[in-house]
Symmetry: C2
């Protein structure tokens, strides 16, 4: 997962497990697609396939919301769309501000998935005075000086941070002080927030690194190697392995053999 919760880490929210909450948007998307095709009902098996999960998990998830299905038949699509939307709080309007209108901020502003799900981009905010007034996705960018005013006037409780890493904590502090209690952070920084404020993090490079880990293992398997320790060692392009500090004869009990000296292939 590309993400990390910060607040309420293991607390069930009104009996609904976090893991279930995280899947509700997935179900909602699949259901919306069915709804647009005017499909009246759907079985747990079909819906699970569309959402990319297994059907037992889906039924368990729905059981936390209530008994919304009909045995022998399945789930009514429209009804379920409504119930999940309600549970997620999407039947109300959520004004959102995006801070940091670079490439990513602009991408977010243009992202259609927001408007269609109860979110409304109330304002775009950037620290660059040259950006002020310039329309992005049809919304004029406003200067950071007006941040507090904007939050207050629009009753914004959700903020999106798409600034460079260096500015993120400061922006975060101002958002929180102005009344924002939920933050979606795209900057590669760990944000510190007071209790009662939720932070979710999306980190593009972390996802790639996780993929690289698995990719490396595949490469190792292909060539009959066991894993990364068979692949590594001083490379042409990489810095040489730093010597173990304070190395003795008995330490370095890694899971497998010790550091080999040559990189195969």
């Amino acid at each position: 997962m590309a993400t990390g919760r910060t607040h309420r880490p293991a607390t069930r929210s009104r009996g609904i497990p976090e893991a279930t909450v995280a899947r509700l948007p997935l179900y909602l998307r699949a259901l919306t697609a069915l709804s647009e095709r005017s499909v009246p009902t759907v079985s747990s098996e079909e819906l699970a396939a569309a959402a990319g999960v297994n059907s037992a998990k889906l039924r368990k998830d729905f059981s936390y919301l209530g008994s919304y299905g009909t045995r022998g038949v399945g789930y009514d699509v429209e009804y379920l769309v409504y119930q999940i939307s309600r549970e997620l709080g999407l039947t109300q309007d959520w004004p959102v501000v995006i801070v940091g209108i670079g490439n990513l901020g602009a991408a977010l502003a243009n992202y259609g998935g927001f408007a269609s799900r109860g979110f409304r981009v109330a304002a775009l905010i950037d620290a660059d005075p040259a950006m002020a007034g310039k329309p992005v996705a049809g919304i004029p960018v406003q200067h950071t000086d007006e941040l507090e005013q904007i939050i207050g006037d629009n009753g914004v409780s959700i903020g999106v941070i798409a600034t460079p890493a260096g500015a993120a904590q400061q922006v975060c502090d101002r958002l929180v002080a102005a009344g924002v209690t939920s933050i979606l952070n795209f900057a590669p920084t760990v944000l510190t927030v007071p209790d009662g404020v939720d932070v979710r993090k999306v980190d593009l490079s972390i996802e790639l690194q996780i993929l690289a880990f698995h990719e490396q293992r595949k490469a190792g398997e292909e060539t009959g190697q066991a894993g990364p320790e068979a692949m590594e060692g001083p490379e042409d392009t990489a810095p040489a392995s730093p010597a173990r500090p304070t190395a003795t004869a008995t330490d370095r009990k890694g899971p497998d053999g010790d550091v080999p000296a040559v990189m195969p292939a």
Copy 2:
């Protein structure tokens, strides 16, 4: 969690739990920052704070990699940076292609976090002929027709999909056929891939929906309400609740009371 694994869902990779793998990039970032400040050693407590996790978890995570610390002292920063980089496969060069050079694709191409972590943007690919040759982040965009050629010539095994939802599966199929075995998907679609191909998903609107869920609960608590079912009901801005299909007197055994008729406040 902004993400979803698709392949190897619960399989430990060479004894390293998935949850641990997902945190290694976090530790790596914190360690890199310490390294740049020339900090020689760090305790599990300090590093955990910098990475935003608890120290017992961090020590457990590192224990899967081997005994890389020194009791009574802590961890050697440089040594740990190298070991984690190696474990993640970042000591080698990973050529990456980005398909779909809209706002998001451009943001990804410009994202500095890639180059600094062993990833190299080998090519930018877009279906729009008007984009062809146009430089983005200093790299000329190439047309989709050349996709297979590019993958083959550069030995690309990791692809990033930043296209609209409708094009994602088709692009995915072509990437996989050309030899890509890891995909980072930003399109709001569930991708179907053959065994042996990893997909990770980053979905911007899902993260916001999860925040909205918690935000809604906070609002309910403030006003002394228990949860969403106390907040919902037909709203001015939302469509009225669809009637339960085939409703009888005994069904609808939701976790709390039944659907109220009026929205407070």
